[in-house]
């Protein structure tokens, strides 16, 4: 389980996260909803310590990682994976090398075994046959799927999705949402998704957290979210009509 306790983060004078406490429960999909610029991506980066923590604690598997150094975090990150908003595929490497990256970094698998794992992960995201293509030759949706295959290559315990459906057409977005569900169902991975896409949240979430201005406004099941009378939740559900 991942747990943040009173997590705060500022950039200059701008406070992006304010005393944010969230539990990402093991084997479940938690969706963090919020408007653009409310610190959702920052939350994921702070948990992974790609950004530093100003105050508060982050627990991963009951270990307080708040004061961990970069080298200590390396060990923790081997158990985690993150799919970035822009996919962040290594554009100087073909798809095969992108997916094989963590295997080459952290395992001593033979090239034949690496080839098998890459093929298996590409099959999972339905991108078989793209091994030789460069990221620039792929569409946005295809890049997301390859990025997911890369993230899954070393079977992480946790996968973070940063705005997985942003910029995609509804059909491709649905495919990505289905993949997120399949990841959890097939591997038991704990999934955290940050998004402003209500359809995506409705489809993949088992728990929803709504944040505004870096603060938590709502936490509950998707059903609770639909029934909530909190003004901001109602406004968010209705796309601002109830504001």
């Amino acid at each position: 389980m991942i747990k943040t306790v009173n997590l705060s983060k500022s950039f200059g004078d701008k406070e992006v996260l304010k005393d944010l406490s969230i539990d990402f429960e093991r084997g479940k999909t938690t969706v963090v909803l919020g408007r653009s610029g409310t610190g959702k991506s920052v939350l994921l980066k702070v948990i992974l310590r790609l950004l530093s923590i100003d105050s508060g604690q982050v627990y991963i598997d009951d270990i307080d990682t708040t004061d961990f150094s970069e080298s200590q975090m390396m060990g923790i990150r081997k158990k985690m994976g993150m799919l970035f908003q822009g996919s962040a595929l290594f554009d100087s490497m073909p798809v095969y090398e992108n997916v094989a990256f963590t295997l080459r970094e952290h395992t001593r698998l033979s090239e034949d075994r690496i080839k098998d794992v890459v093929r298996e992960k590409l099959e999972f995201v339905e991108m078989t046959g793209t091994e030789g293509l460069m990221p620039a030759e792929l569409s946005g949706g295809m890049q997301k799927r390859i990025a997911l295959a890369r993230t899954m290559a070393n079977n992480p315990d946790y996968i973070f999705f940063d705005e997985p459906t942003t910029g995609l057409d509804p059909i491709t977005a649905r495919t990505i949402n289905e993949l997120i569900i399949r990841v959890r169902e097939h591997t038991g991975t704990t999934v955290a998704v940050v998004t402003h896409d209500l359809d995506s949240a409705a489809m993949v979430a088992q728990k929803i957290v709504l944040i505004k201005g870096g603060e938590k406004y709502f936490e509950g099941t998707p059903d609770d979210f639909q029934r909530s009378d909190i003004d901001f939740v109602k406004a968010f559900r209705s796309g601002g009509k109830d504001m």
Binding site: G12, K45, L48, L50, M74, G75, R77, K78, M80, G81, M82, F84, Q85, G86, A88, L89, F90, D91, S92, F101, T102, E105, H106, R150
Partner: protein, 259 residues
């Protein structure tokens, strides 16, 4: 925390960068100890640096030797000393012009390329993705490029010196009536160990300057494609300034040691 305090005051921004750069150097040095070692990437970078720079280094070296031979040869002829043109050309190239001009070419061709590549990776979250996958970008991106520069820059300087020497020989022979045998013998008789040492140490220091400034600015690029452009320009400007400053400092040190 110290960095934050420094950056929050306008005059402190400069010192904030100096502080960040020192931290960057410390992290780079620390990452050199212990595996994994990326030999394949170093070979790739050696090829990239050599491939990007070799032709222009040959051109710069050859024409520098020719100009040096022509201009100093004419002046030396007035004092009846043109026989020593080979010595002047070789010593000037080995001690000063070879290392400095080659470093400036490499800063423009390779340093800018490193900053642009790492800057693009930074603004598209590729460096964050690398860290998220528990890979050390200092080992994989910085050390590989720095190591390749440390190996390749002295080689490129040697190439520039060699072509400059022969360029000077052509002018000495065709314009000054100094034959190749005389040109070569005066050159080799008047080159000393300290000249060669200076010619070896300077490229190593310049490689550190180009590599670390190029990587530091690249990895700290913010602000999308505009930021990549700014960092790339800054990389060439700062590297060039530091090359001239450290050239003077090293020349002074060698003078003090060997006077």
């Amino acid at each position: 925390m110290i960095e934050k305090i420094l950056r929050n005051s306008p005059p402190g921004a400069f010192f904030g960068h100096i502080y960040s750069y020192i931290l960057f150097l410390g992290t780079t040095i620390r990452s050199a100890f212990g595996g994994p070692f990326y030999f394949k990437e170093i070979i790739e970078q050696l090829y990239q640096i050599g491939n990007r720079s070799l032709s222009i280094v040959i051109l710069v070296g050859t024409f520098t030797g020719m100009v040096l031979s022509f201009q100093t040869g004419i002046e030396m002829a007035r004092f009846g000393a043109k026989a020593y043109i080979g010595s002047v050309v070789l010593v000037s190239l080995v001690r000063e012009l070879g290392p400095v001009l080659t470093a400036l070419v490499v800063a423009g061709r390779v340093g800018s390329g490193i900053t642009a590549e790492l800057g693009s990776m930074a603004v598209t979250d590729q460096i964050n993705a690398m860290r998220a996958m528990a890979a050390d970008p200092y080992k994989k991106l910085v050390l590989t490029r720095l190591t390749a520069l440390l190996i390749m820059l002295p080689i490129l300087v040697a190439v520039a010196d060699t072509f400059g020497f022969f360029g000077g020989a052509i002018i000495a022979s065709t314009n000054l009536n100094v034959g190749y045998a005389l040109y070569k013998s005066t050159a080799l008789n008047n080159i000393y160990v300290e000249d060669l040492l200076s010619g070896l140490v300077k490229p190593i220091v310049f490689a550190v300057i180009i590599g670390t400034i190029g990587c530091y600015l690249g990895m700290n690029t913010k602000g999308g494609t505009k930021g990549v452009g700014s960092s790339t320009t800054l990389s060439v400007v700062i590297s060039s300034i530091f090359i001239f400053v450290f050239d003077f400092i090293l020349t002074k040190i060698f003078f003090l040691i060997y006077r």
